[in-house]
Amino acid sequence: MELAQVWFVLVGVLFTGYFVLEGFDFGVGMLFPVLGRTDKRRRVLLNTIGPVWDGNEVWLLTAGGALFAAFPDWYATMFSGFYLPLLLVLIALIVRVVAIEWRGKIDDARWRSRCDAAIMVGSWVPAVLWGVAFANLVRGVAINGDRQVTSNLFDMLNPYALVGGVTTALVFALHGAVFIALKTSGEVRDDAVLLAQRLALPAVGIAGAFVVWTQFEYGKAWTWLAVAAAAGALIGVATLTRAGREGWAFVLTTVAVISTVVLLFGSLYPNLMPSTTDAAYNLTIQNSSSSDYTLKVMTWAAAFMTPVVVMYQAWTYWVFRKRISTDHIPPSIGLAPERTQ
């Protein structure tokens, strides 16, 4: 296998890691209004991802860096071409980061509700837009001979991409609900189980439609495996949550996310960004990768560092493996609000 192909897979792995790990982070934030009816319950939700969300987000930064290093043209064309969606995602991520960290700093209902709103919006926006962006990536956008994307925002809001956006939002919400069920006890857990059951059916329907659409339109023979895995996993989630097996249900939502990313990257291969203008303008693994030397250096770095990172991140999850409930949440220790009036 050529190094450029290895790096196509590695970029896929990094995005898979990002979507698996941030998927439930987004889900937790998205479900604030449904599962977090009281402040204590919202704190339970937030603290299920408390120690890990920041490390999860780094998967995106590293995926971005890896794209830049291994496929500079892909990085340049995609991020300058998907300008406005990316801007929205970045703003969403910014407000989410600070809202999570600063929420408990001031003991004031208004302060907290603003932070909650920021966490919610900061979770919904990327959950939808990543789906839209990746669907457009697979579908292809108008790229000219100078490798510039000439599609505008409205071209990107095509039916297929919109179904993609709804799919990621639903799957992440389901992933988050199952994660919450797995990480909590008491009433929050009961409600999360119930919600996961309710979300499972529409997720099977819409995500099922999206993966089948992707498969028929852009798939290869072998990607049927990914389609089957995604569909099977989602159907399994519905039955397992009913049986109170959150651990296995979480494994299956993870499988669903992984197989969807595999399907998307598999459909893309060997293109990085197909052009709807002319197939000659496609960005491919061959015509957009870095030099052999750069890829070799990066391969060594990834081969050494990735296992180490996976190991210590896994250890973090192990350290904080206990379920939490409203009984575990300490009283707020934020400073009193400063009233000027």
Binding site: L60, G65, E101, D327
Partner: protein, 484 residues
């Protein structure tokens, strides 16, 4: 304004904004690690209170550092796609390494540190903050190595078939002499910032605490204040030394940058060092040197006081036109001249605080002088401004280049900013410029208020005694030691 100017403003605003918070993170992480180490070693709970107090401030700051850093990772592709194509083969590697080696380390272990109080064994928990400290400094190294390639490209060749720079040696890239000088300089600046922050806060609290409390609150801050003042002195000395090394490199590798920093318009042997210069039209014709010192400039450039030939802006411009074709190769003289001077003089704020502070705390004294309380507060912003000024000088001094040609390197590896910018309509870039600026301004206000409130609140009651270690693995309800 066209997309080029707007993109430059946007990158400038977002980077300067990012670098308000970054130096405090880089410098404060090791300082907090030291505080916690002292607590673990001596068992003195006052150091635990200090660790928690400065730890809270650290976390408030870290959030914004992370948030603003995310944007930088993507802005190259969004606004500078042609630059990204040209250097991605080289520039992407340190960026990806930064993610793999440093970002993962700091973010994962910071989570463990925040939530691990009472959950992890004491020594393991102490190790997490040290790993965070290593992570933040390692990330600085990689990103500065990337930036140094833009200032002084090495370790790469030009591939005429693809028309781009290609990496030939990662080792040369990571040991670029520009990076080896810039990294310690930036880290020393970060330690100066954190030292001044800690010394300033502790100094203000010593003066304030004596008035409002029984004196215990004040006495607690004395050792950490003196520790931070020591950090200021050492990092200040390191800044002077690394700054000198960097200056000598710049005279050699980027003569235009140094010539404009000195408003040195015409080539001369042993020109005088300019202390004060005024010019009306940001060009060489109107420059009037008011105060000058002989000998200094020659020393800054070559380490000797006489017999040094230095090239001036006007002559360099001619030379570059001859070499690289028609164009304006001069940076903004006004900005480079004053940013350079601001960077150097603002460091006096920290130095003043350290010297005055060491004096008023001598022999076990806890200061009560009101002026020292005010000095402590006034000194805090100075290193932040000096850091910004230094980066503005470094970055605007390489205009018009985004990849400045290396005089002893591959000549084709050079790119002007106008060749590097993405092909967007101005309206698109205006949207992102306005959105980022507004969101950032809002968040900076909240950040300042939170920091101010937590400094004024002082060490909190609930952080008086450390949590007992909890190795009970059952699910039985027991409150978490920390929850968002």
């Amino acid at each position: 304004m066209d997309a080029l100017d707007i993109s430059r403003w946007q990158f400038g605003i977002t980077t300067v904004y990012h670098f308000i918070f970054v130096p405090l993170t880089i410098g404060l992480a090791p300082l907090i690690a030291v505080m916690q180490t002292v607590w673990v070693v001596t068992g003195n709970d006052q150091w635990y209170r200090l660790t928690k107090f400065f730890g809270k401030l650290f976390l408030i700051n870290f959030a914004l550092g992370v948030a603003t850093g995310i944007v930088q990772e993507f802005q190259f592709g969004m606004n500078w796609s042609e630059y990204s194509r040209f250097v991605g083969d080289v520039f992407g590697a340190p960026l990806a390494l930064e993610g793999l080696v440093a970002f993962f380390l700091e973010s994962t272990f910071l989570g463990l540190w925040i939530f691990g109080w009472g959950r992890l064994p004491k020594l393991v928990h102490l190790a997490t903050i040290w790993l965070v400290a290593i992570g933040v400094n390692a990330s600085a190294y990689f990103i500065i190595a990337a930036n140094s390639f833009m200032q002084h490209p090495v370790g790469a060749r030009f591939n005429p078939e693809t028309g781009r720079a290609e990496l030939t040696s990662i080792w040369e890239l990571l040991t670029n002499n520009t990076a080896l000088a810039a990294f310690p300089h930036a880290v020393a600046g970060a330690f100066l910032t954190a030292g001044t922050f800690v010394a300033g806060v502790a100094g203000w609290w010593m003066v304030r605490g004596l008035k409002h409390e029984d004196g215990d609150g004040a006495r607690m801050f004395r050792p950490v204040a003196r520790l931070a003042m020591g950090v200021i002195i050492v990092s200040g000395a390191a800044l002077v030394y690394t700054g000198d090394v960097q200056g000598k490199l710049m005279f050699e590798q980027q003569p235009m940058k140094m010539a404009s920093a000195e408003s040195l318009c015409h080539s001369a042997t042993d020109p005088d060092f300019s202390v004060l210069t005024v010019g009306t039209h940001n060009n060489c014709d109107s420059v009037v040197h008011l105060i000058e010192v002989p000998g200094v400039l020659s020393f800054l450039a070559k380490g000797q006081f006489t017999g040094v030939d230095l090239k001036g802006v006007v002559d360099l411009q001619e030379e570059y036109v001859e070499k690289y074709g028609p164009g304006d190769y001069r940076p903004n003289l006004f900005v480079t001249y004053w940013a350079f001077r601001m960077m150097i003089t603002l460091a006096a704020g920290s130095a003043l605080l350290a010297l005055a502070g060491l004096w008023v705390t001598r022999g076990g004294r806890v200061p009560h002088q009101r002026w020292f309380g005010w000095l402590s507060l006034a000194a805090i912003p100075t290193p932040f401004l000096a850091n910004s000024a230094g980066w503005v000088f470094t970055e605007m001094g390489r205009q018009p280049w985004v990849v400045a040609p290396n005089p002893t390197g591959v000549d084709q590896i050079r790119l002007t900013v106008s060749q590097g910018v993405s092909d967007h309509p101005a309206s698109t870039v205006v949207i992102s410029l306005v959105v980022f600026t507004l969101v950032y301004a809002g968040l900076a206000l909240v950040w300042f208020n939170l920091i101010r409130r937590y400094v004024v609140a002082g060490p909190l009651e609930h952080d008086t005694h450390p949590h007992a270690h909890d190795d009970d693995d059952s699910d039985a309800p027991k409150q978490l030691s920390f929850a968002y």
